[in-house]
């Protein structure tokens, strides 16, 4: 608890100092200024990455998603972005058809991202980027039409697709590697609403919130790495994502997922097309979150640039 408090007070101190630094430099405000983060969430191998795409393996998945900075304030020292992302994913949990019809997953986020341009350059080196973000979000999982998941009940299952409303924080770092490679990493934590009463020992209130708002998870921690070859017409890329879900119920099992995505980005003027293959192991998505599978998929993503 003491470590948590110390970390929180340090974070607040850093934030205030940086805002002060930022305020002394001339700033420029912009509306609708591209992605919601300098180090985009769309570059992730996460199943919740806000991208539009299609994938198959072993079942079909169609996603419609994107992110946008609603408002940004840019100075020589840093950039603030207030933005959001949205994702709707249609998936099959049992069928093997070409178009998914069984389940629906959605994820929405409102985020405040703070790109520490000068600090990163000064302390980490030229070309390096560091971004801290806070987000309010909600993700949910539903069956479509009258579909019911036929999976057997287990007493340690996580309910409600491990979804719910959350406050998330993450730190992302991006750096050039040599002349042609660009690497990034991101470490983040989502705290679901029911986690906050628990942090102050109000377990009854936490249970009440989890039940009333249908939250199966209490925390979700994630880490990812990415590498991309730049400059060629086709830009090969690799991304690795790992997450752990701490369920709210004491009786439920923690869940883990890892996903490796290999692809080749085809940058265009306004969009980027990325055919990819993905190998995924761990918990399933949405209402199939309690399923543990090894999945291999091929697909294509379309990102706005």
């Amino acid at each position: 608890m003491r470590a948590v408090r110390r970390a929180c007070s340090s974070a607040v101190s850093v934030a205030l100092c940086s805002v002060a630094l930022c305020s002394s430099a001339p700033a420029r405000a912009e509306w609708l200024s591209g992605p919601s983060r300098a180090i985009s969430n769309a570059d992730s191998a996460s199943p919740d990455a806000p991208v539009t795409g299609y994938a198959y393996g072993p079942r079909a998945q169609v996603s419609l998603g994107g992110e946008l900075a609603l408002f940004s304030v840019r100075s020589a020292r840093s950039t603030f972005r207030l933005g959001g992302s949205a994702l709707v994913v249609f998936e099959d949990a049992q069928r093997h058809g070409a178009l998914p019809t069984e389940t629906l997953r959605s994820a929405f986020e409102l985020s405040l991202a703070w790109s520490l341009t000068e600090f990163a350059t000064r302390t980490l080196g030229p070309g390096k980027e560091l971004e801290l973000s806070l987000a309010l979000g909600h993700h949910s999982a539903l069956p479509m039409t009258d579909f019911t998941l036929g999976d057997r009940y287990h007493s340690d299952d996580v309910p409600f697709g491990a979804g719910g409303a959350y406050l998330a924080g993450d730190a992302a770092f991006r750096t050039p590697l040599g002349q042609r490679f660009l690497a990034f990493s991101r470490l983040g934590l989502r705290c679901y609403t029911n986690a906050f009463p628990d942090l102050v020992g109000a377990h009854e209130a936490s249970d009440f919130v989890a039940d009333a708002w249908h939250e199966g998870a209490e925390y979700r921690a994630f880490f990812e790495l990415g590498l991309r070859l730049r400059g060629a017409g086709v830009e090969p890329l690799g991304r690795w994502y790992f997450e752990l879900i701490q369920p709210h119920d004491d009786s439920a099992k923690p869940l883990a997922l890892t996903r490796l995505l290999l692809g080749a980005a085809l940058p265009g003027a306004r969009f980027e097309l990325t055919p990819f293959t993905a190998l995924e192991a761990g918990h399933g998505a949405g209402i199939a979150v309690n399923r543990t599978e090894l999945r291999f998929a091929v697909g294509v993503r379309l990102d706005a640039r």
């Binding site: 299952d157 309910p159 628990d198 109000a202 009854e204 249970d207 039940d211 009333a212 119920d249």
Partner: protein
């Protein structure tokens, strides 16, 4: 149905349940009771499904009567009006009882009892004017069976419009007979409850009868103890209440668990050497949870979920009335809960909801 009022978001002091380091991997843990394994026990749940007319009820308190007989006490119950066993063609009564013969619920025989009035099923403990009686726990002391009931009335309209009046105790002096032949007598004025709804759980330890009860919108749990000899004589007028200075007068009483639970059980688990408080934790799609303590007055641990029932994976579920039944055999500890739906109307006909469900718990 015996809906539990939602618990408000109280902020009691306590240790942090998940001692996380921000940005680190998950290191969550609970300082709660030892872990147990729990699973639904459908073979035992069938015990509640075999009657031709009793087609659902909640509460589900159990009292060991000895000689392989277990008394079950139910709250709101549905009695079929025809052989169709349809809930849309049934009588709704405020309480009923059953006698289980044999301690293994997978092989036991169950017979249900309720009253009759004007040739229609009626509550086993009949209404008293505007008041009806919802059961609490009970205990057999020699030849006297003491049954605690809550005196309840409809304060406002709707499913949640009920209000607790007071608790009362009924005495049965011929508990070896069939419930239909019981000499059931309300011991008016014999229970000094001091505003606490006594009877949530009853436990005999040596010369003392420990009786738990609730008070307040957060269902704070209080503990009173009575002299067993006096209780056996039907006298519950001299409670000693647990408080900051130990057991003493009502003026110094303090809750043993706050916030508490509207329904629960307390038993001693010899395997752990601890007392176990069983409840449904949360509101709506709840979990079965336990707390443990070294003494009946506590200090009680934080609750630990032992099972999320299958019904609680539905967002509109209403799962409640979690209790343990230590007299049952075939499991290291048997528990029950009652699944219903949030709209408050048990689905029809003969839907799977609103029958108590057994859970089999293994210590590990």
């Amino acid at each position: 149905m015996r809906p539990a009022a939602p618990r408000a978001l109280g902020l009691p002091c306590g240790v942090v349940r998940f001692p996380w380091l921000l940005g680190a991997l998950l290191l969550g843990c609970s300082a709660a009771p030892p872990a147990v394994q729990a699973e639904p026990w459908p073979e035992a749940s069938a015990l509640f499904r075999g009657d031709s007319q009793w087609i659902g009820g909640d509460g589900a308190y159990s009292v060991d009567l000895g000689s392989s007989r277990v008394l079950w006490l139910f709250g709101d119950s549905l009695i079929a009006a025809s052989s169709a066993r349809s809930r849309s063609d049934s009588f709704f009564i405020r309480n009923s009882v059953a006698i289980q013969t044999g301690y293994d619920p997978t092989r036991a025989f169950m017979r249900f009892y309720y009253g009759m009035q004007d040739e229609h099923p009626a509550s086993f403990v009949p209404e008293d004017g505007k008041f009806w009686f919802w059961p609490g726990h009970g205990i057999r002391l020699g030849q006297r069976l003491l049954l605690f009931y809550g005196r309840v009335y409809q304060k406002s309209e709707g499913m949640w419009g009920f209000a607790g009046g007071d608790s009362t105790v009924f005495s049965v002096t011929n508990p070896d007979d069939e419930p239909s032949a019981w000499q059931l007598e309300e011991l008016r004025g014999a229970l000094a409850s001091d505003g606490v709804e006594l009877g949530g759980a009853v436990l005999r330890l040596g010369a003392w009868l420990y009786v738990y009860g609730n008070q307040g919108s957060l269902h704070d749990v209080y503990l009173a103890r009575f002299d067993v000899a006096a209780a056996e004589a039907g006298d519950l007028t001299a409670p000693e209440w647990w408080g900051e200075r130990g057991f003493g007068s009502a003026a110094q009483r303090a809750p043993v668990i706050a916030p508490g639970a509207p329904e629960y059980s307390v038993n001693f688990a010899a395997q752990w050497g601890k007392f176990v408080f069983t409840e449904t934790e949360g509101f709506g799609p709840t979990t079965l949870a336990i707390r443990t303590a070294d003494a009946p007055e506590g200090p009680w641990s934080e609750p630990r979920d032992v099972l999320r029932p299958p019904e609680s994976f539905s967002a509109d579920a209403f799962v409640y009335a979690g209790k343990a039944h230590p007299e049952q055999r075939g499991a290291e500890l048997a528990m029950t809960y009652v699944p219903s739906a949030m709209d408050g109307v048990p689905p029809d006909p003969t839907d799977d909801l609103y029958y108590p469900r057994f859970v089999r718990v293994s210590y590990r």
